[in-house]
């Protein structure tokens, strides 16, 4: 890989001298408000994709007056092209546990849950073993916090936080209306912090190394680093922790196979960036944010097939409770098939784009709202491939 890209080693770094449990023990001796200020100061934003400032989320939940609160680790990684959480859970689970317990201390929660997607059941045995040890370690240290694991059963939409709560409560994974937000009423309708796996590891590491080292990385709008899942037409697919705010062309220089036609940034629900826009695209909150998924397509790939795949995915994974998403996904899929077969004129694609605008406003959750991202970016940049 060319060395324009700034590789970072925070997430997977193993510090022999200070275990995650030791970081936790040290951190809970500090005032909770100070920890929140550090997190806000660090600029850490949620690493699942939505990018809400983590410190604020913790602060809002801390401010809620309730005997019972929860910390939940969202390990329902299902976005196509994303596999970094699996690797984090496998390699550094203690850092996740420590982040959850620090959060528990800050907001005043006694229980934490890891919602692990059913597709990762093979991780359960080892994770439970490590968790038992960590829970015992916390008990010994006098930290009143216990973490449990809950399994999913194969539903992409359960990565949406309120659908995840529904699933944990033994219901269909259908997203709730918002507000109320989880900080007010989440799991069991109690104030809840729900964070992505990677976010929780960063909270541990920010408590360990201080906000300064984190803040020094990235850009003004996108502080810190991020774990990227790189796949598709690349000779070096895999997981890379990189500084945020890099231009896409540098990423492609480092990872592409020399024939890169487009990069899907942010998974199926993200944006497809064509070659001509690589130079002007920043990977970060000021440009295109991503949960880490970077799928690279070279010139041998049909963008019609790519879009068709995405739409099939959304049609199957739409929970079906709200009409704009349930019917919208189906009609988008049928629509591009009809245009391809010549049964509809090319101008029909513009009608379909209007449908995605409706879905963005009217769909209940992020799934339906974001289908327009891949749809419009592929239609706008590869229109001829969809028609002919």
């Amino acid at each position: 890989m060319e060395n324009n890209l700034k590789k970072v080693d925070i997430i997977f770094e193993i510090d022999e001298k200070q275990s995650p449990l030791a970081i936790l023990e040290k951190t809970v001796k500090r005032p909770a408000d100070e920890i929140i200020l550090d997190l806000i100061d660090s600029g850490l934003k949620g690493r699942g994709g939505a990018g809400f400032p983590t410190g604020l989320k913790w602060k809002f939940t801390r401010n809620e007056d309730n005997e019972v609160k929860y910390v939940i680790c969202n390990a329902d990684e299902g976005e196509p092209g994303t596999f970094k959480d699996r690797e984090i859970i496998d390699r550094v689970p203690e850092k996740i546990f420590a982040g959850m317990a620090i959060c528990g201390f800050v907001i005043g929660a006694k229980e934490g849950y890891i919602y692990l997607r059913g597709e990762y059941n093979f991780l359960l045995k080892n994770l439970q073993k490590k968790l038992d040890e960590f829970n015992a370690g916390m008990k010994k240290a006098g930290i009143e916090f216990t973490i449990y694991i809950k399994s999913g059963s194969g539903a992409y939409v359960c990565g949406e936080e309120s659908a995840l709560f529904e699933s944990m409560e033994g219901k269909r994974g259908e997203p709730r209306n918002k507000p109320p937000y989880p900080t007010v009423a989440g799991y069991n309708s109690k104030p809840t912090v729900i964070n992505n796996v990677e976010t929780l590891v960063y909270t541990t590491m920010i408590c360990h190394m201080g906000p300064e080292r984190f803040k020094a990385l990235g850009t003004k709008d996108s502080r810190g680093s991020k774990v990227f899942s790189v796949s598709g037409d690349t000779p070096i697919s895999g997981i890379y922790e990189l500084e945020l705010g890099m231009p896409l062309n540098e990423f492609v220089d480092g990872f592409g196979d020399g024939d890169t036609k487009a990069v899907q940034v942010g998974g199926a629900s993200g944006h497809c960036v064509p070659r001509k826009k690589f130079n002007d695209t920043i990977i970060g909150f000021e440009g295109i944010p991503t949960g880490g998924s970077m799928m690279i397509f070279n010139s041998t790939r049909s963008m019609y097939n790519v879009l068709h795949d995405y739409l099939e995915f959304f049609t199957e994974e739409s929970c079906g409770q709200c009409t704009p998403c349930r019917v919208g996904c189906q009609q988008l899929l049928k629509g591009i098939e009809a245009v391809k077969r010549g049964e509809r004129p090319p101008a029909y694609l513009d009608d379909l784009k209007k449908l995605t605008a409706t879905m963005k406003i009217a769909a209940k959750c992020g799934l339906g709202q974001s289908v327009g991202n891949p749809f419009n970016s592929i239609i706008d940049n590869f229109r001829e491939e969809i028609i002919y």
Binding site: E77, G78, E79, P80, G81, T82, F83, D85, R86, R117, G118, E119, Y120, N121, F122, L124, K150, S151, G152, S153, G154, A155, Y156, S167, M168, E169, G170, K171, R172, G173, E174, N188, S229, V230, S231, G232, D233, S237, G238, I239, A268, S293, M295, R301, N305, V306, D309, Y310, F313, E316, E317, C319
Partner: protein, 156 residues
């Protein structure tokens, strides 16, 4: 009491008699019986004091909570974009030919069900498949067939 009833009672006892236990109870039944029979769903409803419709409604939402009979080994080949690009069609075709079934079907001896799945989270090592809870990345058709043969022998 039937074995299903015994199993449900055990699972409810272990996880607690609350609605929040519904997922782990259903997951436990699928783990043992490979699918959720009408008997199992009704039994869960009774034990957790829920309506049968509520239990079926939850079960039918989740891909991994099957409500139709499945084979002892459930093969799920990832069909999402990068696995598609890396040749999942050939894997599915080879498995289908070897098992003499189509996607969605179960072999006559009830040993295998062949299914596809949405992104399994191994995009850098596609094509990939799950057999029950075990993951097999970096597949070739030959590798996939060898894995299935091992399961057919009941070694795993």
């Amino acid at each position: 009491m039937s074995t299903t009833e015994v199993l449900v009672k055990e699972l409810v006892e272990k996880n607690g008699k609350t609605r929040n236990s519904l997922m782990p109870v259903l997951q436990g039944i699928v783990h043992n019986e490979h699918f959720l029979s009408e008997e199992a769903l009704l039994c869960v409803a009774r034990e957790l004091d829920l309506s049968a419709a509520d239990v079926y409604g939850t079960a039918s939402f989740y891909t991994f909570l099957d409500t139709v009979p499945r084979g002892k080994n459930i093969v799920r080949v990832c069909k999402t974009i990068t696995c598609h690009m890396k040749g999942k069609d050939e894997i599915i075709k080879a498995l289908g030919n070897a098992l003499k079934i189509k996607v969605g079907e179960t072999t006559n001896d009830k040993k295998f069900t062949l299914l596809t799945a949405n992104c399994l989270g191994w995009c850098h090592k596609g094509p990939v498949m799950l057999v029950n809870d075990d993951i097999y990345p970096d597949l070739t058709t030959q590798k996939a067939l060898e894995i299935i043969e091992e399961y057919a022998k009941d070694v795993k």
